[in-house]
Symmetry: C2
């Protein structure tokens, strides 16, 4: 079995005829860890009686004590044949987790595996408060999360044409014309959504900076809310960031600190339909102001406005859109042009 | 580059001299999906004004609408050289996620990668309500989660000798003598803990059954609370389950349905110190009663009582213990003996 597989792998390599997606993925290692966080202590709260397993014995739950909070979960995949010169850290947007970059909701290959196949060591994290990073009790964070309906991403992520375009009945949902989002898997996509706190930005940023201190120098690939964290983390650790690909940052960094990023090659990527939604116009405007401040300090910012290069129909979730591979190729070409990866 | 790697892989296969942990991991595919769940609808709640990004525009958050809830996140790794005859599904315990089976808190290889290296296709899930599976609003689940202090697992998972053995100061923590848990990484371990609802068992089980319907026939490897879900899921889909490895199930299935498992080879694995904690005596007793009912119906249940075969010091989190590889080897030997994997 082993011999046959090695032979097959050799044949595939020599002939190069198999489709890329069918090639095996060879990793020199993979794994995960939690990084950052702090210990919070609670005291003076009443002890509860709980039953942990149905029919099992009652046991005491004493909420007083020490809690690890604000840590961040990170999963990594280190390739056998490395072409990226630094690790590539993929940071997701608001109300989502690292799942953003995995298999698309309709089952196609996502950007994680595309970039692994391109020879990048990839680190995917769940921001503090989300997914496998866990969250803190309301006694510690003093607030409750907000929950998003299915309506929200349909209308806000430029899948449908804004307010009123979502309907419970998939057949009645209105779509921006030519949209590339795999709408048949929209309900599957919404299963990826996690609740979101509006008071944890400082903790989220601290988690990202702790990750940078652990695994960088590196290249950041950020999306939406993750864009702001990427820029602010780069302001905190400019020497550790060798490149930033910002996909539709929903807000930018601190304008007065933008000059700190002048030595970092930056790429901003924007999808379609932005002019049709005042929120996205505002978000992009704030990105542009930040980019201008970096350029004014002598820095380098490139833009890919997808419709302007003939790639149309992309929603805010372009890493899941039907043409996600085409966009990954554009990003990859830019990374190679900046000598952040071998061709 | 590609050629060199294939050559290297061939050399490793032919010579077989490299250490197992240093070999590359070859996957024919990997990915993730969410399975199961339902749509919950909320109505009649007031619309909120929120600011999604600091300094950004205010936007409306209307909590009324449709929410996907009770879906389960699943991540899979499909090996190039398959030896396991079926997929191996790893189900974690209460208050934890699939991270249980990944890299240990002190950075050693976990059971996920050990079994992948042994040729198993591995599926790791986060039970409904936890990690990347997300959770529902209190308007839908009508309850709040409970949060565990660091004291709880130290005293309850047979790391320290019960009540009073945990201390904020690591130097003052009391340890069960000879314990194999990597105590220097205990604080890192507690970062893996996620909040837990006490009212969601039916939804958790439904998620697991949905996973079985999607990817099985399969073999289950369960831990603690996951043991109960494994047995109950097997009762619901006995023909789909080809083997069960139950590591310290904290409770068993339905006694009257145990005969449904009579055609499934089952292995129960138990660690050290159980007699020193009445809770663990009670849990094991309920497992034994369930096993006896399966055997009375003509089924087959094997036991590995680790101390009885000279493997001592194992906590409840034995997949993270310093001798986790030794226990994985015992489980692997059993799987091969039941013809569930090629040697």
């Amino acid at each position: 079995m082993k011999f046959r597989s090695a032979f097959l792998a050799t044949m595939l390599c020599l002939t190069g005829t198999a489709s890329q997606a069918a090639d095996p993925i060879a990793l020199r290692d993979m794994g995960s860890f939690h990084v950052g966080g702090r210990i919070a202590e609670l005291s003076g709260l009443p002890v509860q009686d709980i039953v942990r397993v149905p029919g099992g014995p009652t046991s005491k739950l004493d909420p007083n004590g020490r809690y690890p909070v604000e840590q961040m979960y990170v999963q990594y995949f280190l390739v056998q044949n490395r072409k990226g010169k630094w690790p590539l850290l993929m940071w997701h947007g608001g109300g989502l987790t690292g799942v953003t970059y995995e298999t698309t909701p309709d089952g196609r290959e996502g950007w994680r595996d595309m970039f692994i196949r391109k020879g990048w060591d990839v680190y995917i994290s769940d921001a503090v408060e989300r997914g496998r990073s866990s969250f803190a009790s309301p006694d510690i964070w003093k607030s409750q999360p907000v929950f998003l309906t299915q309506t929200d991403p349909w209308e806000r992520f430029r899948i449908g044409p804004g307010a009123g375009s979502f309907d419970a009945d998939p057949a009645k949902r209105k779509l921006l014309p030519g949209n590339q989002f795999p709408i048949e898997a929209f309900d599957a996509f919404t299963k990826q959504i996690v609740p979101r706190w509006l008071s944890t930005d400082d903790a989220v940023l601290a988690g990202y900076v702790a990750l940078i201190d652990k695994v960088c120098p590196c290249v950041l690939l950020t999306h939406s809310q993750g864009g702001m964290f990427g820029f602010k983390a780069a302001e905190a650790r400019p020497d550790k960031i060798k490149g930033i690909v910002s996909v539709e940052a929903a807000s930018a960094g601190n304008l007065d600190k933008a000059p700190l990023l002048k030595s970092i090659p930056i790429l901003g990527v924007f999808g379609d339909y932005i002019e049709q939604d005042s929120r996205w116009v505002a978000y992009r405007k704030s990105d542009f102001a930040y980019f201008d401040a970096i350029k004014a300090a002598g820095g380098s910012v490139d833009l890919i406005d997808l419709p302007k290069i003939g790639i149309t129909g992309n929603s805010h979730m372009m890493m899941m859109d039907k043409n996600n591979r085409e966009i990954a190729e554009q990003i990859s070409k830019w990374l190679i042009s900046k000598e952040l990866a071998d061709p």
